[in-house]
Amino acid sequence: MSSGMTPIQPGAIDLAIASSLVLLNAGISAYLGLRMQRKMLWSATRMVVQLLLVGLVLRWVFALASPAATLAVALLMIMAAAREVAMRPAHGLRGWPGVWLSTASVGLSSIATVVLALLTVLHPTPWYEPQYAVPLIGIVLGNVLNSASLGLDTFYGGVVNSRTAIEAQLVLGATRNEALAPLIRESVRKGLIPLINQMSAAGIITLPGIMTGQILAGMDPMDAVRYQILLMFLLAGGSGISVTLAVYLAARSVTDERHRLRLERLSSR
């Protein structure tokens, strides 16, 4: 904390006061007949319990400072993100190939990005220091998940809707890569749009969450900005790798070695 400011720690009463805003939302829902009040209160309760539990687990992992515990937490987070990537698109691969695809794309991209940052930019000692590794992998996973699921949603939807056009190219002797190339490009593009929006808007339209959190916690704004810039670059790398990997693996999975479309491998959600 280079500014020397004392961070203000919100207490239980402060949180209770803030929670009145959720109650206000529930009230609006009841008044307008939206029937969302129970869902709203349940989600807020879930969020509080989940975050308290995560806080306790992280405190325990930070105290342990063991590579095995850090790896276990990272793997759990990756598996949860991979499940989301497999479930979010309107269509998905049936069975284990779907799980394998999302785990490979999310896992490889986030691990590669975070390990690169730990080894070459941040240099904590030891390099797997959980206080750095776990939050980094968390923020990278959030973005990687969005990019990969958006890319896959576009790709699977496109394959289903453009089946006849893709097959029309295959029957004239096109390879599966040639026939799927426009859709692959479009899907990767869609997956990268949120990241580009995020980078373009950072600092002008929005103050990014991490930076805001660090400023609130007492960090000098310029130090917080440097962290945020570093994070944005990591997110760019992670998102790009994950959506590209996910879409290319999906393209292989919905075709076979005889360059046929195998849409029976997909199921609708």
Binding site: T164, E167, A168, L170, V171, L172, G173, A174, T175, R260
Partner: protein, 214 residues
Amino acid sequence: MAQPSLSPSGAPRLRIRNLQSPLAGPFSFDLEAGQCLTISGPSGAGKSLLLRMLCDLDPNTGEALLNGQPRAGTSAPAWRAAVVYQPAEPAWWLPTAGQHFKPEQMERVRELLPQLNLSPTLLESDIGRLSTGERQRMALIRSLACKPQVLLLDEPTAALDPAAVAATEQLLQKELAAGLSIVLVTHSESQAQTLGHRGMTMCDRRLTENGAAP
């Protein structure tokens, strides 16, 4: 009608043995160079499934040989470039018809357009502005521009007026005389008589030679 001939290797142009999928077959037949095999039968009998299997677009088992060369030893894109399938409703994936052709195909395309009563200006038109019949004839040109050895046609004149049907049949006769082999799915008896050297009927996903005992 020109008579079909054997390929230089002595093997038939296309040899099919026990070709089947869980949905149809087994199918076995030979097709010589310059020969047209017509296939008729009720809708849903499996005619399109057979054509898709012949061009290896759906998973299948059995043997398929082109000029004596087994399909298993040929890459799928190379097989489909030689055994071209034109579905009943051909699809397009680029804005204009002309964009679907490679530059080296254009000479052949310009040669084929007038034979099917199509104006060259249609190449520049938005594909959505072409009539169903124009798109169907343009699809035939797209298939022929690949210079296939076997052409698999699924009701290629279904959306055409009588003059366009006659032009299409005339062009196909010319291609047969030049050695192209055709498997033609048609509901038109007169077309089967005009173009076909052999006729088969598909019923309940089984193929029988016309005139043969079922």
